[in-house]
């Protein structure tokens, strides 16, 4: 009988990561799109680092920072009952950092596509910056938001290195599908690995296809 747990865990991780990252990325992308600050290039560089760094590097440093023996981790454990190493929370944190550019970049460029006059028109209609953001800017860039969400979701499903480093390989807690497949291949269980791979392939294909179809319809409506 097939063990569904790694697959469920994978999608749970992707979902939680995507939701949290979506909420964090909007204010950051907004700031990046309007800021003329001198430290902006530094922030942009840091956000883009996961694109080029091997995931194992991120995982390694996360392991060091959240090592259960250091005082910061002890404080976290005592105050919030949070432990980031070898736990689901740790997987979420690692995934958020690893997928950061995949959410921030599309949203940031989405902000840049909005004509200035539209934002100014909203201000002149006595709308606050927040109201303009929620009712004019974000709806304008739905396609970019969707791209960010899908890329993050798909990227988190495909994650391996960070998850392995910080999560370990604990069944039902941190053993996601990608690691499961690796395990089965190592154990020469090609049939099982193949089954998981096909399921993962099919599900992600359907999700992406659905999104691209929706996206096409939406941009037709806006552009005409």
């Amino acid at each position: 009988m097939i063990d569904w747990n790694p697959l469920i865990l994978t999608f749970k991780l992707a979902l939680v990561t995507t939701i949290i990252l979506f909420l964090i990325a909007i204010p950051i992308a907004y700031w990046l799109s309007v800021s003329k600050s001198k430290i902006k290039p530094i922030i942009e560089t840091i956000i883009s680092m996961p694109l080029v760094l091997p995931p194992t590097v991120i995982g390694f440093y996360l392991l060091l920072v959240f090592s259960p023996t250091n005082s910061f981790s002890i404080w976290l454990k005592e105050t919030f009952d949070l432990q980031f190493v070898f736990s689901f929370e740790g997987l979420v944190l690692g995934s958020i950092i690893y997928s950061f550019p995949f959410m921030v970049h599309p949203i940031q460029s989405g902000f840049k596509t909005i004509p200035n006059s539209i934002i100014e028109a909203a201000y002149l209609l006595k709308k606050s910056k927040l109201e303009t953001l929620l009712k004019v800017q974000l709806p304008f860039m739905k396609a970019s938001l969707l791209t960010g969400i899908v890329l993050t979701f798909a990227h988190t499903i495909g994650e391996f290195g960070v998850v392995l480093m910080i999560g370990g390989n604990i069944p039902n807690q941190t053993k996601v599908a990608s690691i499961m497949i690796y395990d089965e291949v190592e154990a020469l269980q090609y049939d099982v690995a193949n089954l998981y791979s096909i399921i993962l392939f099919a599900i992600t294909f359907v999700i992406l296809l659905f999104v691209y179809i929706m996206n096409g319809k939406y941009s037709n409506k806006i552009v005409g």
């Binding site: 539209i118 100014e120 028109a121 909203a122 002149l124 709308k127 606050s128 005409g224």
Partner: protein, 290 residues
């Protein structure tokens, strides 16, 4: 009284302009800022709206200071009672026409004004359409209506008609006139179309190199001498023909093409020039029609 006394250095890729404007006019006037593109007309509107900060000076609208560099006053765009129509209309693409208008409506206020503007601007047939399905003229009317929903104290129009064809322009000029008459709204229009200005404006300020070089009634601005008992119209030269010692100008006036004969060849008039044609009214034909 509207008083605008502002200075601003504008840097563009082509050249630096020092904008130094000191104008004042009465409420309810229809004021036109006239001049070549790049002299800072749009910047003046943006400074009045609070979208661009002047380097120094004051902006006072109906005895209320909107900007004063000495008094350290600079009202946010949200606090200025101003309606603005942008060159690109700036309609919200994710909202229907009606939603665009409702978005402009202040909370807890009656939607009567929307109904009134919808009928005045004849927007009803496409009320539930999205902006991208509208023609330029329709978008323009929606943008104008949206700017009026909040009953602003001053209406700013940034070349709103420049993207439209001739007939549509004419129609929209009528809407603008109608609105100005009905709401007695102080209006500032940026334009470089002489016939439009002559039709709409009660006062014109001509700008050159960031300064006001001429001001007055449109007729005073666009004709050099003050004649009485004359006809005059403004048009655009379509063709200049020379036949022995006279010149035949083909001129587009409004929707009509007229041929004008002139012996005067001193002025260097070329195709595309905006001109005033004036003649004394000696033997006009006056007939009753209809």
């Amino acid at each position: 009284m509207i008083q605008i006394d502002i200075q601003k250095r504008l840097g563009s890729e082509v050249q630096d302009i020092f904008l130094d404007i000191n104008i004042e006019f009465a409420e309810e006037e229809f004021v036109v800022l006239y001049g070549k593109s790049g002299v800072g007309k749009t910047s003046i509107l943006r400074m009045i709206a609070g979208l661009l900060k002047p380097d120094s000076g004051t902006i006072e609208i109906k005895n209320e200071k909107w900007f004063s560099s000495k008094g350290k006053i600079n009202l946010k765009p949200q606090s200025r009672k101003v309606g603005m129509v942008f060159q690109d209309f700036a309609l919200f693409p994710n909202m229907t026409v009606l939603e665009n208008l409702k978005f402009a409506l202040p909370k807890k206020s009656s939607s009567e004004i929307i109904e009134e503007l919808v009928s005045l601007m004849e927007i009803k047939p496409f009320l539930n359409n999205y902006p991208n399905t509208l023609s330029g003229g329709q978008k323009q009317r929606v943008a104008l209506a949206r700017a009026l929903v909040q009953k602003p104290e001053i209406l700013l129009l940034d070349e709103p008609l420049s993207a439209l064809d001739h007939e549509m322009r004419r129609k929209l000029q009528n809407y603008l006139q109608e609105i100005h008459r009905k709401y007695k709204l102080t209006t500032i229009l940026v334009s470089h179309d002489v016939s439009e200005i002559v039709r709409l404006a009660t006062k014109v300020f001509t700008l050159e190199n960031g300064k006001v070089v001429k001001s007055g009634k449109p007729i005073e601005i666009f004709s050099n001498t003050k004649l009485s008992g004359k006809f005059q119209f403004v048009g655009e030269i379509l063709e200049v023909q020379k036949q022995s010692f006279i010149l035949i100008y083909t001129i587009l006036v409004g929707n009509e093409i007229v041929k004008v004969f002139s012996e005067n060849s001193e002025e260097n008039i070329q195709v595309g020039d905006k001109v005033i044609v004036a003649t004394k009214a000696f033997h006009p034909l006056i007939k009753k029609i209809g």
